[in-house]
Amino acid sequence: MDATVFIVAATIIMGGAIGVVLSRNPVHAALFLVGTLFGVAVLFVLQDATFLAAVQVIVYAGAIVILFLFVIMLLGVDRAEDLGVEPIAGQRPLAAVIGASMVGLLLTVLLVAVDGPTGKSATTAPLGDAGGNTRRLGEALFTDYVFAVELTALLLTVAVVGAVVLSRRVTGPLQPIPGPDPRSEQSGDTPDGADRAEEEAAQ
């Protein structure tokens, strides 16, 4: 039973991954990515990591892929890319060689050199049965790892502020506005909507 689930999930994961790499259309790549993420969520369930499986589906498939699709729609880059051209000579054979040797190295390190994962079982945060998985994760996060949780809160705040600043409509030397700059006498204090209306009127 477990083996069947694993094989089906692994097939979905690898099919999705190859689809992401090979699909010519970014929208198709995003949809293949959903398959891979769901497959990984299935494997999390198979290993009794139920909370992470739920978070995987909600955060990755529900938020990150939607963000990808939003950006694809916003930029209108959903036209197919011509994969036939190879801009740098020898790029693809070299990438294939690097990929194959990376598989070899990872398998050697993970399976042969150290004879599988080694180490001591934890005494501070033991892994119990699946039923209390969420409870144990929460207890560990808000006691032993509370400082890291606070840091991730700070990281998310910085990321949100950075995204807002980066995607703000600014005028720079690469994008000159025809006609007199309406902000030269107002020191850029006009609201964004008014700016955009003036830009469009000027064009």
């Binding site: 995987q56 910085v158 990321a159």
Partner: protein, 101 residues
């Protein structure tokens, strides 16, 4: 036939390498970020598998933080791509060589 940790590790290694090959081959920045997500998922799978193997909650805790950092990374990366694409529509990774000298 029981599923051992080795199965998960082999799958994660292949998935990671697929993502890295995609990152090397593709030129669309959006697809490149997706390939980075593939690699992060492979690492998450490794964390959970080894954590289960050792009976340790630490693997799942690491995956939790990786998820948060991946979300932040995608947000900033996509904002950068939007900012670049506004100035140069249809830019690929090869076109962004301004710092290359």
């Amino acid at each position: 036939m029981t599923v051992t940790t080795t199965w998960y590790l082999v799958l994660a290694a292949v998935l990671f390498s697929t993502g890295s090959v995609g990152l090397l081959v593709r030129r669309n920045p959006l697809v490149m970020v997706m390939c980075v997500e593939l690699m992060l998922n492979a690492v998450n799978l490794t964390f959970v598998s080894v954590g289960t193997h050792l009976g340790d909650l630490g693997g799942q805790l690491a995956v939790f933080f990786v998820l948060v950092v991946a979300a932040a990374e995608v947000v900033v990366g996509l904002a950068l791509i939007v900012a670049i694409m506004r100035r140069r529509p249809g830019a690929t990774a090869d076109d962004l060589s301004l710092l290359g000298g």
